[in-house]
């Protein structure tokens, strides 16, 4: 059932298809469109039961203004940034190194270490929860951004290593051999030969890890509490209990919380998809 290219079909089929795609899209995004609509309504609409009719007034700026200026939302957002960005840098840096070691060198245990990273990347979080929380508490890092960052770096190194190692494997090995013949030191090969070639992989991973970490909820509630360190995914629940049943503000809050990874995706789409579909095409 591989569809015939639409340009080879009849004019009628083409027009039907062109109408069908936007319609399907609207159905697909319906829950989201509903929330976007909620976030522009005044409170009065909800108390009057006007959930789906025409908004009685357009309150976009009031609602989003409230989210930004009358709640803890900006603090949570800042926490998210301060957790996500260091994690991305840390995990990408570590995995450039591990990926280089596993992708270039042949030694006993190479595949074993590689598979350890992959397997660890798949384990359920719950098997790590009690010991990691314990470790974080005893290191005095409970309810700090650093505690969360350290764990995220460690865990994401698993996935990043898988990614980087496979990417490096696909590079032309002759380049490295040529450099060795020239007598270039190994660390210089990493820095001057391999690293520049890894730029697309680094870009793809950064965008992907940014999204993963920004959207993390489980570790946020296990390792932090309160607005000092909690990222926005965890903060949104306290935000919602502050504005309980005020759907216009809750919707605006969720949209704000979701925005950074969405923006990241639309700006860096090519890298993002390259990262996600790694290995999907040989």
């Amino acid at each position: 059932m591989f569809p015939t290219p639409i340009e080879k079909r009849s004019r009628g089929a083409q027009i039907t298809y062109q109408a069908l795609v936007p319609f399907a899209l609207i159905m697909w995004l319906l829950p989201l469109l509903a929330v976007a609509l909620f976030s522009m309504r005044p409170l009065a609409d909800f108390t009057n039961g006007n959930y789906w009719g025409v908004p009685s007034s357009f309150e976009f700026f009031t609602n989003y203004g409230k989210v930004f200026f009358e709640s803890d939302m900006p603090r949570y957002m800042l926490n998210s940034v301060l957790i996500t960005v260091p994690t991305v840098i840390g995990a990408v840096a570590l995995s450039c190194m591990t990926g280089f070691a596993l992708g270039i060198y042949r030694f006993r245990g190479n595949l074993l270490i590689f598979f350890m990273f992959i397997a660890g990347n798949f384990v359920p979080f719950q098997i790590l929860m009690v010991p990691v929380r314990d470790l974080t508490v005893s290191a005095g890092l409970y309810d700090t951004k650093l505690g969360l960052v350290l764990f995220h770096i460690a865990f994401q190194t698993g996935f990043c290593t898988l990614f980087m190692r496979n990417f490096i494997r696909a590079l032309p090995y002759e380049l490295i051999e040529a450099a060795r013949v020239e007598g270039v030191a190994e660390w210089r090969i990493f820095w001057y030969v391999v690293l520049p070639l890894m730029k697309p992989a680094i870009a793809a991973l950064s965008v992907l890890i940014f999204t993963f970490i920004w959207n993390d909820y489980f570790w946020a509630i296990v390792l932090t509490q309160g607005p000092d360190a909690q990222p926005v995914t965890a903060g949104i629940t306290s935000f919602n209990s502050q504005f309980v049943a005020q759907y216009h503000l809750m919707s605006a809050g969720s949209i704000v919380a979701a925005l950074p990874p969405v923006a990241m995706f639309f700006l860096m789409q090519r890298h993002f998809i390259a990262g996600l579909t790694l290995g999907a095409v040989k």
Binding site: P5, Y105, F218
Partner: protein
């Protein structure tokens, strides 16, 4: 002077061993401390009764014995099975949308990214969006089903018979988007000559899909399988946000029940929680084992 010189040459002689070792060290160390060792520790803690603060008492396999008679554990396990089975629907659904969108019309790139968009949202936001979508009486879902005369008592999420399915449907939304993008990329790489050859041989419809297209999409299908199964067993955020395990504990899954037992107001039973986590881990291990095995086969084939 001579020792310094021989030191240097020792480093030089062994640089092919030392370099990878040094490059691996920080990453492996981090991963050991935060991932590998905790797995062992969890196994150990599951043999104790421990509140997380005081003295831990060794109880042997008592926690596991308690699990066998725990009704809530049974419900959670059963819900995990439902999650696994239904979550896999994301794969054919994603393929279907990918086939639908695999055309060239103006703006198709934008359409593709908008279809993919739910995957970028955090599960927390997806959970909130869907819990409002499902609101009884005023939610869009209830209104639309109302047109067809269907009325779920207490709303989808308020009814113990439907709540889990409601949450799984919410989870399928981003997961289908993910599978779709995997297949769209896969379809880009499909060899047009083979399709042409298939057409000449009279392959049409399902036969074309099954015999010509799907074999070429195998790598995409494999990844879709891996991420969907992992995603199904990791489900936590949606449950926590949409129902918090309710109504009457009917939407708990192992990952959520474990959290409840170990960290929430239901008590700090670290040992019991760890026992639940171990069970979840062992279930996952079956799949991890399979994934690693098939990756190992690929590795062996690709040895240079």
């Amino acid at each position: 002077m001579t020792t310094a010189h021989s030191d240097l040459s020792w480093v030089r002689r062994n640089r092919m061993t030392l370099t990878p070792l040094l490059f691996l060290l920080p990453g492996v160390l981090f991963f050991m401390v935060y991932v590998i060792i905790p797995i062992g520790q969890s196994f150990n803690i599951s043999l104790y009764e421990w509140d997380g603060l005081g003295e831990a008492t060794y109880v042997g396999l008592e926690n596991y014995r308690e699990l066998t008679g725990d009704r809530a554990f049974e419900i959670s396990l059963w819900n995990n099975v439902k999650w696994l089975a239904l979550y896999l629907l994301a794969i054919p659904a994603g393929l279907l949308i990918a086939l639908f969108l695999n055309q060239t019309i103006t703006g198709i790139r934008l359409y593709k990214s908008l279809f993919f968009f739910p995957f970028v949202l955090s599960q927390v936001v997806v959970g909130l969006v869907f819990s409002w979508f499902y609101l009884p009486n005023v939610g869009l879902f209830d209104i639309i089903t109302g047109w067809f005369g269907i009325d779920v008592r207490g709303g989808i999420l308020g009814n113990p018979n439907t709540a889990t399915y409601g949450i799984i449907a919410a989870g399928l939304w981003p997961q289908t988007a993910y599978c779709m993008i995997l297949y769209l990329t896969g379809l880009n790489a499909v060899d047009p000559e083979q399709i042409e050859a298939g057409r000449l041989d009279g392959a049409k419809g399902w036969r074309m899909l099954w015999h010509v297209i799907l074999p070429q999409l195998k790598p995409a299908t494999f990844i879709a399988f891996v991420v969907t199964i992992i995603g199904a067993l990791r489900s936590f955020d949606l449950i926590s946000i949409m129902t918090n395990g309710g109504p009457f504990g009917s939407t708990r899954v192992l990952s959520f029940y474990m959290f409840e037992k170990a960290l929430s107001e239901y008590g700090f039973r670290m040992g019991y929680g760890s026992a639940i986590a171990v069970v979840l881990f062992l279930i996952m291990l079956v799949f991890i084992g399979y994934f690693l095995w098939s990756m190992y086969q690929d590795e062996k084939a690709a040895r240079r």
